[in-house]
């Protein structure tokens, strides 16, 4: 098990909190809520060690487009980068909805 | 495959020690024993599930709680409730030495889950009706068998003996299911209290009312029996002074330390229960 923490600059506030996903094999849950400051903060708890670089690249890509000042907790049970991105996009969509 | 279950005589040993009887019930399986005997200055009922190599159902010959054991426990406990309906609610002492629920094809087909539930229901109903229900752990208190016979008691007492243990699954089976070795499992139990098997680790969870130390669990002498009687009487008095639910299992200092999450869940749930 590994913890990864990342911070990003944000362009706009996040209006509400959303939860998507489940901590099941090959999947993950995302808890997204307004952050206390003007930045985005991500905490990843993952069952698979040693993939820090991959996590950073997926999250970099996500935040280029998302730009919300969100605190995000990810609880991961071995999801692929594709699934991670899918869940993040679902969360972002739910925030905008 | 682990069919070699060591057969324990602890249940019958303590039934005899506390009641001077074998508790055989006419017309019921020999695996369920009930005896009435004085405890302090009142009669109490003592109930044990014991091995029987000739039990009709082969999967319940080594002290397991099977179909007939579950339903017979239910019948016997309900008889005690009916007898106490208009008078004194006598104490019920469950002597616990149960190796497991009965594992079998026939058992599943015939609803061993319901049989065990029926026993748990009866004990819980006795508790709610005002009978002090005390479980005395003298041997194994394993998994579904303990849920059926003992875990609904107002108070849990245990003898401090290496063979007294509580767990959700036998060691070998738990190792296979969690893909660990038995040695790893034992090491984990030293670090993580709920994973341990021995009764001293269990005592740290705050569920036990009393761990009775210094008693010969296999061959109790008069002083041992006296000590256990006193512990039972104290537990009965404590039960009668409190509510009929299981809240005492969350009130000890050990529970506050180890079952902090159980307490926190209830506290925050109560806050959110009604709309603010």
């Amino acid at each position: 098990m590994e913890k990864i923490e990342l911070d990003y600059p944000a362009r706009h506030a996040v209006p509400r909190r959303v939860h998507v996903g489940v901590v099941g094999s090959g999947d993950l849950e995302v808890l997204l809520e307004p952050s206390p400051d003007q930045r985005a903060h991500v905490l990843v708890n993952t069952s698979v060690d040693g993939f820090g670089v991959v996590w950073k690249s997926v999250l970099d890509r996500f935040f280029e487009r998302f730009g919300g000042a969100a605190s995000i907790e990810i609880n991961d049970f071995g999801a692929t980068p594709g699934t991670v991105m899918l869940r993040l996009e679902q969360a972002a969509e739910a925030v905008r909805a | 495959m682990s069919t070699q279950t060591e057969v324990s005589a602890r249940g019958i040993t303590w039934l005899r020690a506390l009641t001077a009887q074998d508790g055989v019930i006419q017309g019921a399986p020999a695996t369920v024993r009930v005896a009435e005997a004085a405890l302090g200055d009142e009669p109490a009922s003592f109930i044990a599930v014991v091995p029987d190599p000739h039990n009709r159902f082969p999967r319940a010959r080594n002290g397991e709680v099977g179909l007939e054991e579950g339903w017979t426990l239910a019948r016997q406990v309900r008889k005690i409730i009916a007898a106490g309906k208009d008078g004194v609610r006598r104490p019920i002492i469950a002597l616990v030495d149960v190796s497991s629920q009965a594992y079998g094809r026939r058992e599943e087909l015939l609803g061993v889950h319901l049989a065990c539930a029926a026993a748990a229901d009866a004990y819980a109903s006795a508790r709610l009706a005002g009978h002090p229900v005390i479980a005395l752990l003298v041997g194994k208190a394993m998994s579904g068998a303990f849920l059926a016979h003992g875990y609904q008691a107002n108070r849990l007492l245990a003898l401090d003996s290496p063979e007294v243990m509580v767990h959700a699954m036998g060691k070998q089976a738990a190792a296979r299911v969690t893909r660990r070795s038995v040695a790893d499992l034992e090491k984990l139990g030293e670090r993580i209290a709920p994973m341990a098997y021995d009764i001293r680790a269990y005592a740290k969870l705050g569920l036990l009312h009393q761990l009775i130390e210094g008693v010969d669990a296999d061959a109790p002498g008069a002083a041992d029996v006296q000590r256990v009687r006193e512990a039972l009487l104290a537990a009965i008095a404590d039960t009668r002074a409190g509510p009929s639910d299981l809240s005492s299992r969350l009130s000890s200092p050990a529970a506050h330390a180890t079952r902090a999450a159980s307490i926190e869940v209830r506290r925050r749930l109560a806050e959110q229960w009604d709309v603010a």
Binding site: V23, E33 | W71, E108, S143, V177, P194, V265, R266
Partner: protein, 290 residues
């Protein structure tokens, strides 16, 4: 078109919404009156398992149990739904305490003359082995709460599949006033793999799926009177069945209290003779239920 999509289209054609394909939160929502769902101790309360991370296992923020208050035909209700995808729906300290604690509060309200209708959506293998003794302890507390609560209001259990309901939680199911199963549900104390492991492959070959279903599948359980209603995987039908179960009021006698009936039934069984699902249906079919 993928197989899953084909099944979905077929269901839509039949006008059904799958209950099994929903997560626990959606299941709870679909049971309650529309718009009445209010979650208690949701993921943002972050009451996680304190024990899983100590063993290198990532914990889910709600520990796999969704609690919701809401209404059923306008009456106050409580739904506790177990998320079977997370840790097999297993009962740990927190997930179990959520169910026990909610039932205890429902009991308190009932005792104060404010009935709460309790529904349990049971998809679970039983005790979470990583929290072993605390899982077992809290299952006993769930049993205690059901028995106490059931004196005031019926407690309704639903097992929809695909996990089914096993271990100590099968006793919780058996303590429910009424049980609703789908054809995809299984209800048993010991999972088939555990029986094979403990008693040998001659006792039960867990890979023989047809055999396993003939013993503990929803249809068999319904045919012998161990459950009350058998449904297709249809969210609307399940929600309706839950309401119908409450409308019937308290059973004349709870199934787990039908001691003489079941002792008589067992007395008529000869354990030396072979017995299978169809044979048992012939003996127990139509026997008196409350």
């Amino acid at each position: 078109m993928s197989a899953v999509a084909a099944v979905r289209n077929h269901r839509q054609f039949l006008g059904r919404t799958s209950f099994i394909e929903m997560g626990a939160r959606e299941r709870a929502r679909s049971i309650l009156d529309e718009g009445s769902f209010r979650e208690l101790l949701g993921p943002f309360d972050r009451l996680k398992s304190p024990w899983l991370p100590l063993q290198g296992i990532v914990a889910q923020a709600d520990d796999g149990v969704v609690l919701a208050r809401g209404t059923l035909d306008g009456k106050p209700a409580l739904v506790a739904a177990i998320e079977s995808i997370y840790q097999g729906g297993s009962m740990g300290e927190v997930s179990g305490a959520k169910i026990a604690g909610a039932l205890e509060l429902a009991l308190r309200d009932c005792e104060q003359g404010k009935p709460v209708l309790p529904v349990l959506l049971l998809e679970t293998g039983g005790v979470r082995l990583q929290e072993a003794n605390l899982g077992l302890a809290v299952i006993a507390e769930i049993h205690a709460a059901i028995v106490a609560l059931r004196r005031h209001v019926p407690v309704i259990g639903v097992i929809s599949g695909m996990v089914g309901c096993f271990g100590g939680m099968s006793l919780a199911a058996a303590l429910c006033s009424r049980l609703i199963l789908t054809r995809q549900a299984r209800l048993g104390m010991n999972g088939p793999e555990v029986i094979e492991q403990e008693a040998g492959i001659a006792e039960l070959d867990a890979s023989d799926r047809a055999l396993v279903w003939s013993l503990i599948g929803g249809e068999q359980r319904h045919a012998v009177g161990l459950v009350d209603d058998l449904l297709e995987d249809d969210a609307v039908a399940i929600a309706a069945s839950v309401r119908a179960a409450f409308a019937q009021g308290l059973p004349r006698q709870e199934r787990s209290a039908q001691v003489e009936l079941y002792l008589e039934r067992l007395a008529a069984i000869d354990p030396q003779q072979p017995l299978d699902g169809p044979a048992l249906r012939a003996i127990w079919h139509g026997a008196a239920q409350s």
